[in-house]
Symmetry: C2
Subunit: 480 residues, 2 copies
């Protein structure tokens, strides 16, 4: 059925962006201490909520902080965990910690099944794709619904607590979907940078890279153009053995490039530019990597002259990517497989993108600065089949969650930063009084969920204020 | 794991109503010709919508009638098939046929998976419980959603057709749930006699039998009391071999009663009274059995004197049940296993009631005319485990569909007849402007879905008018 897991590669394949460059792929840091005070707990979940013959259970991890909670029915802010270790998301969602006092709220961060320490089938989970059959957004939403009902039943004072779902990125999609599918469980949702429309027939596959390109265009003259020119330079230089050696040397690569590695090398560069667009924050931060404030601007200081000779351009390119990979100056060499699927979390996300989470991305080199690459679904599907023995169902998300036709739902805030490539697939216009879009000018990927910072642009301050207002309104309404 | 299917018994077990006396259990007639004109079609469905490793498909049967349809976006009335042959439901849902011209509607009747001719795994389906793992309401709803999207995509003129879900009884529950879970697929639902609250902690288990009893109380003096007294008479008479012989003889039973059969015999009688309450229609009809108008009144003409001696009372009881089983006078003997699980459809419903559809029913003999019988969940669960190797999850329906907390949904009409025991678990008060309850005075089980009849009480005429008005309103709104 499926190839050995060691064959799973996270790199974009030749001929197209056959992998979704979702930022999950880039998490590799061990969660840092944030100083936030929470308790770690585990809840016994059914592996299969939708069938009865599989009776296994697993322990779902969740983090809970009730120091600011009004024990007489105060609200619960429930983070719908993404594709990774929940501690990391907890530590990177300072917004919830910033507002818990004002909201008198309990904070809960629930880990997504098959990530972090929440493993159905434990060690076996990734040994055979049959154990991954329960890794779907529907099962994850059911976990959240079951957990919330259990918390309300078992925590004294929580019985009548209104619950609001919150999440960013895939976690934001889950927050919105939880409200859509389980409106009796959560009274509303804050869905930050949630690309619920980054699917077949819902948005142009090129928009994503157009936004990345815009960020570079406005961050320095000649910057996007330099990157656009770099692909030809790489192709030309890498066509000889000597050129490959030159490339490996000026990029300080840990392993010298082989002819077969050139596509991966370009994929690694592409992902670097995309990541920078996601984390183009107004202050120094270590979301994916330790970075300076407005990192793209810093990158662009190295890429001012697109008309340089190939060799000079590539040297500049190395300086530019070093801002991302080696801002601290501690790295001795660069590893182009750094963004590839190395961890189990990466593999789990790859499985999800091979099943439901099929998010088409493409480039044309005209409206964007990337090498042209069509969205090649057949090739993508073939890769999935080789790796997991399954075929993606690109239409299922629309059938299940409604696609663009979601107007009958209520109480969801969709926030998007205009710098964030994922905003391409986000809800950027309000649909009704209670399905509200907030645009954060100069905002990257779910900036609003991060801790407040003196350098926050006014747009994100305003977004947070609005989000708090909506949440209070939803809560108020439950009291009537 | 599971016992052989031949061991499945449909009879209530001693110690409690361990089987849900849902009317599914009583369908046994071959669908009669109705004269309605439709085409029979099949659609290829995935056996598992929620996982990716099971890749089997099956052919879902659906019936389609477009003779009255406005081919330029006219509405589609979509019957969400219940636990049985869809042709039978099609022929017993005259309301849709009565209104198709006025609504310029296409009619579609979709069969529920694992019933009729819509069999995942074909002949194998019931050979091992593992093949039944996909027999759930969630999978059935996904079938409906996928089918509707496909019809709209493939039928010229249907692309913008608004779709309204309709159904009665379990089909009504599915119609309501389809609107709740897939509001992007159906703009509203008519849920007739849909006991969506006949579940744990949502309604008292005794209400069901109290309603049955009320029907008998008002249909003739001494009637309910005679039935209440009959249990003691049966217990006493059946305690001797001679008494058993007497019972078998006066009831003209096809097989003589053994001591072990007494509980089944009483279960068979109980189900007969319950069925009569469901089909207490104002005109002669053959819904479950060929019956006269107001059959309970006819039954009660035989049960006027509760103070008769045991033997005389039992003789009268035989006359009474004969109204139900032998109104045509063609039966030579009565078969007490007639209501038991004999067909595959019955087995499929038993499986569903052993998994999600756990609908507690009980009796106390005081507020109702039945022998006291607690709702004995542990015994029920044990029976399920013995038969299918699985355990029920009585709480799942509430988690998934919201239980009593459904106020955030819109555009559902819940109709209930006050004679219908299933109204006990129905939505009998409007929840909002768009979640509307309609009570049909003198109405039995989804009378409103039946063809119009000169003997229809004004209440059902009014209900149908309201239902049409709501549907038109929903459709109108989609055009804005």
């Amino acid at each position: 059925m499926a190839a050995a897991l060691s064959e799973v590669s996270g790199r974009p394949r030749p001929g197209g962006w056959t992998r979704t460059p979702h930022y999950r792929l880039f998490i590799k840091k061990i969660p840092k201490e944030s100083g936030f005070q929470f308790k770690t707990k585990y809840f016994q979940q059914k592996v299969d909520h939708f069938g009865f013959s599989e009776v296994s259970t697993f322990k779902q991890r969740y983090l809970i902080a009730d120091q600011d909670w009004d024990r007489n029915g105060g609200p619960i802010l429930f983070y719908t965990g993404n594709e990774g270790d929940i501690v990391w998301f907890c530590n990177n969602t300072g917004f919830m910690w910033d507002i818990s006092k004002e909201m008198k709220a309990m904070l809960v961060f629930a880990e997504h099944r098959y990530y972090g320490k929440s493993m159905p089938f434990g060690q076996k989970a990734f040994s055979d794709p049959k154990y991954l059959d329960y890794l779907t957004s529907e099962q994850a939403l059911a976990d959240f619904a079951v957990l919330i009902r259990n918390l309300k039943r078992t925590i004294p004072g929580a019985q009548n607590s209104p619950v609001i779902a919150m999440g960013g990125s895939y976690g934001g999609m889950l927050a919105a979907w939880l409200r859509m599918k389980y409106p009796h469980v959560v009274i509303g949702a804050i869905a930050a940078s949630a690309p619920i429309w980054q699917f077949e027939n819902m948005c142009p596959c090129g928009s994503y890279n157009t936004i990345v390109t815009k960020d570079f265009l406005k961050s320095g003259k000649g910057c996007a153009e330099s990157i656009r020119n770099s692909w030809g330079a790489i192709n030309k230089v890498s066509s000889t053995a000597e050129g490959l050696k030159f490339l490996s040397s000026i990029f300080h690569l840990c392993s010298p490039l082989q002819m077969d590695d050139v596509e991966s090398f370009k994929g690694w560069l592409s992902e670097t530019w995309v990541n920078l667009a996601m984390v183009d924050y107004p202050y120094a931060a270590s979301f994916l990597e330790p970075l300076p404030a407005w990192p793209i601007k810093v990158v662009c200081t190295h890429l001012k002259d697109p008309s340089l000779s190939e060799e000079l351009l590539l040297k500049k390119l190395f300086e530019a990517v070093s801002v991302y990979y080696n801002y601290t100056g501690n790295m001795k060499c660069l590893n182009i497989s750094q963004t590839a699927t190395s961890s189990l979390d990466d593999q789990a996300w790859y499985y999800q993108s091979c099943t439901e989470m099929v998010m088409p991305i493409c480039a044309d080199g005209i409206n964007d600065m990337f090498e042209p690459a069509k969205w090649d679904f057949p090739a993508f599907s073939e890769d999935c089949y080789k790796t997991w023995g399954i075929r993606p169902r690109p239409d299922w998300i629309a059938t299940n969650y409604g696609g663009k036709n979601i107007s009958s739902h209520t109480n969801i805030v969709f926030s998007n930063g205009d710098l964030d490539p994922w905003s391409a697939g986000g809800v950027r216009k309000s649909i009704s009084d209670t399905l509200v879009a907030i645009t954060i000018t100069d905002g990257a990927h779910h900036l609003d969920l991060r801790s407040k910072n003196p350098k926050d642009p006014p747009s994100v301050q305003k977004a947070r204020t609005q989000e708090i207002q909506y949440m209070k309104k939803w809560i108020e309404k439950t009291k009537k």
